[in-house]
């Protein structure tokens, strides 16, 4: 997934859409907004917003540390948690450099699934499908013709905490 920071206005629609689509309990969130402000008033100030969530890392530390195999990577690269197998030890929460996971009040660890139930039916994740600025781009990075592959070829981007070596799959377009 890519987030176009030239367009995101930080409205939080992605957060509400995730909450209603996945029935995320109140007080918790699988995705969230961060405002980045740098520089000084009035000449050098810059602001952009990042819609953040699980980075679905290719080398996911949460999967490596999970003692039961509840955290796993499915075909296509989505990182999931099987709730029934999760013992709630929290090792994955510690291991994640992106703070993308939380304890669900029902006793397991929960996080963004890239709406696997939707994408496996050919739909975009809920956050992507509602975004009023069209700043979220989701697709298959293995397909060079997919919109996301194309945009990552054409535009400059950055990833968060690249030094953690997790090969994150959430890209922020500059």
């Amino acid at each position: 997934m890519a987030v176009d920071t030239k367009k995101c206005v930080g409205c939080g629609d992605c957060v509400v859409a995730c909450q209603t689509e996945n029935n995320v309990p109140f007080g918790y969130a699988r995705d969230w907004i961060v405002e980045i402000a740098t520089g000084r008033y009035p000449d050098t100030i810059k602001v952009h917003f990042e819609s953040r969530r699980c980075h679905h890392c290719d080398d996911a530390p949460c999967v490596r540390v999970c003692p039961t195999g509840a955290s796993h990577i499915v075909e296509g690269g989505i990182v999931l948690v099987t709730h029934e197998e999760c013992i709630g030890c929290g090792a994955c929460i510690e291991a994640c450099p992106y703070e993308a996971r939380y304890f669900h009040p029902d006793g397991y660890v929960d996080k963004c699934t890239f709406c696997v139930h939707r994408v496996s039916n050919g739909q975009d994740p809920a956050c992507v499908s509602v975004c009023p600025t069209y700043c979220l781009i989701f697709g298959d990075l293995d397909d060079p013709e997919s919109p996301i592959s194309k945009v990552l070829k054409e535009r400059d981007y950055y990833t968060l905490a690249p030094d953690a070596g997790t090969k994150p799959q959430l890209y922020f377009l500059k």
Binding site: V9, D13, V16, T20, N23, F26, A37, F49, T133
Partner: protein
Amino acid sequence: MKEITRRDFIKLSSAGLVGAAIASPVLNFVPGFLKQDYTPPLESELTKTPTVCDVCFWKCAGWVWKDKKGNIVKVTGNHLDPHSNGHLCPRGTGGLGYYYDPDRLKKPLIRVGKPGSQKFKEATWDEAFDYIVEKMKDIESKYGRESMALFLHGTTGPHFEYLWEAWGSQTYAEPAIAQCLVTREVGFIATYGQGLSSPEPTDTRNTKCLVLIGNHIGENMHNGHVQEMSAAIDRGATIITVDPRFSTAAAHSTYWLPIKPGTDIALLLAWMHVLIYEDLYDKDYVQKYTYGFDLLKQHVKNFTPEWAAKITTLDAGMIRKTAREMAKAAPSVLIHPGRHTAWYGDDTQRERAMAILVALLGSWGRRGGYYFSEKVELPKYPHPPFPEPRWSWKTITKDKFKYAISGVTNVLVDHSLPEYDGPYKIKGWFLVATNPLQSLPQQEKTIRALQNQELVVVVDILPTEITGYADVILPEASYLERYDFIRNSRHRQPNLALRMPAVDPKGDSKPGWWIARELGIRLGLEKYYPWKTIEEVLDWQLRQVGTSLEEMKQVGVKYFDRKTPLYLPEGIDWPFNTNTGKIELYSTDLAAMGYDPMPVYKKHDDPPAGYYRLIYGRVPMHTFGRTVNNPYLNELRSENHLWVNPTVAKILGLENGQEVWLENQDGKVSTFPVKVRITERIRPDSVFLPHGFGNKSKLLHRAYGRGALDTELISKVNVDPITGSTGMRVNFVKILTTNPHNS
């Protein structure tokens, strides 16, 4: 000793609200259908019902999705809909929070005991109607029907406007006019002979240069405009934002002009000067379509960028550069008109200046500027003629504000005060889906007007502050539970959209159309209500234009052919609906009414030492004060913050997150504290406070006491002499670090 007032804010006490359903104060409310190990349902397992969102005025069409048990699980946009293009904003996506909110009004309530008592009793609808009808007839016999005023807002308003006209009163107004967009409408009417309406016909997605004057698209989630701004960014459009605050739009802009508040007209005049005196304006267009160019040229002769730079604190070079950028993109340049334009009291003239700039750039009726919107000619359901009132909003408004185009709330308030002793007294308030304690400035005056009424009725979904002043509270069904009139708004292509109930109303709440009709029948107005249900009205109307209620239930949105051109057609002498038949750079209407025919910059007061200008605005996840209690949207933002420049924070020794109180130039103090947000995004002479927080209704468990309400601090207004609109950005506040309510 504080005088005991007749009405006071509604209070949460079991003694106060006898038997009424008081929600347990569970802040982390969970919808009833949530269960463990929730598996998100596939859309193929759900059913969908068409709706038109009512969380704001943009009226996006969408779908309400229900599971097999009939629970609403989500609301999404309708992809056919030009307002949303299938993408709702956070408020629309969270709209189901209206339905699930446990704080909702569920039963009609009638005040019991003496005036001033805080006791309400649950009532049946019959009892509530009987009470209202008796009081309305009493007011009629003592003062006349015109003395019953209607304050309305939103899509439920027209049902009551119809009732009022049938009853014989045209004493009505909505804050969406005098506190919002009337100056913009009149500024464009005076120039082009037509207003902009909603959604504004701005061709943002095709523009090469977008100019935003204090318009914070992206913080106001005017959905279609937000989406089109994204399209403009994709196409590499130049964006010029003029704002004392580094707004989200400014963050996405090519140029940010951090203007001194209240000086926009000087900038606009200087831009005109550059376009004219650098010969950059659209000569063919101006010659062909406009009136008064020579007068304008003479008028702006001395308004150089250097002159404006001193006033606006902007750089003269930047003023020239941005004017040239506009000219380079012309006619595909969009000077966006904004929406809430009630700022300084000379707002019609500021909007006029913007409209004139549009004409100089030749972008009215041009691709990438303004298109001509069109709506469906949808006949009204036939009704007998309405009785002519002896006086109306016009009688009490047009003598003072000659270019007022509809009722002015603040004029109605003035006529409701005890000291008003003229012939046009207002003695009853009927309020529909509006909370004037937040939406009108000068709160103290509003309260005095309320206390001088013999009847106050509130129709609403939630126990907002105004319900505490009501004699009768009528619980309305949310938009997810009701029909309303067909959405027929202007757009690029004429279209209709249907709202229908997805679920039954909760509790004993009822749709607005039903409430208005039942009241009408009890007032003896049967002949105006020959139909039993609104479905009959809608189906009749839809059949007149070749569709039906049945078809609309399936599609939600339906398009119709245009009958007029989308842009100015080449080669014909296009007639404008003005006195001269031209675009009036010099307004003959304003001249005839005794107002400045061309905009003039007039200096506004600066904040005194130790005070900062109070700028208010929006956050993208809330619609004014209406949504703060919505459980989904409250999660996103439960309180506002006071934006303070770091220089100011240093002087005052403020820290991020510190609670402060605000006191304005008249000694008005915010009831609740607000947390400081230290940010470079605001000028040091101003502070910014998002509107709609600091709610005083204890029955709104999530919203109560969270943050500060700007309305409390807007005790001063500069009234626009042309329209009666209240300019509200003329208040100054100082920041108090200790609780003033403790002393």
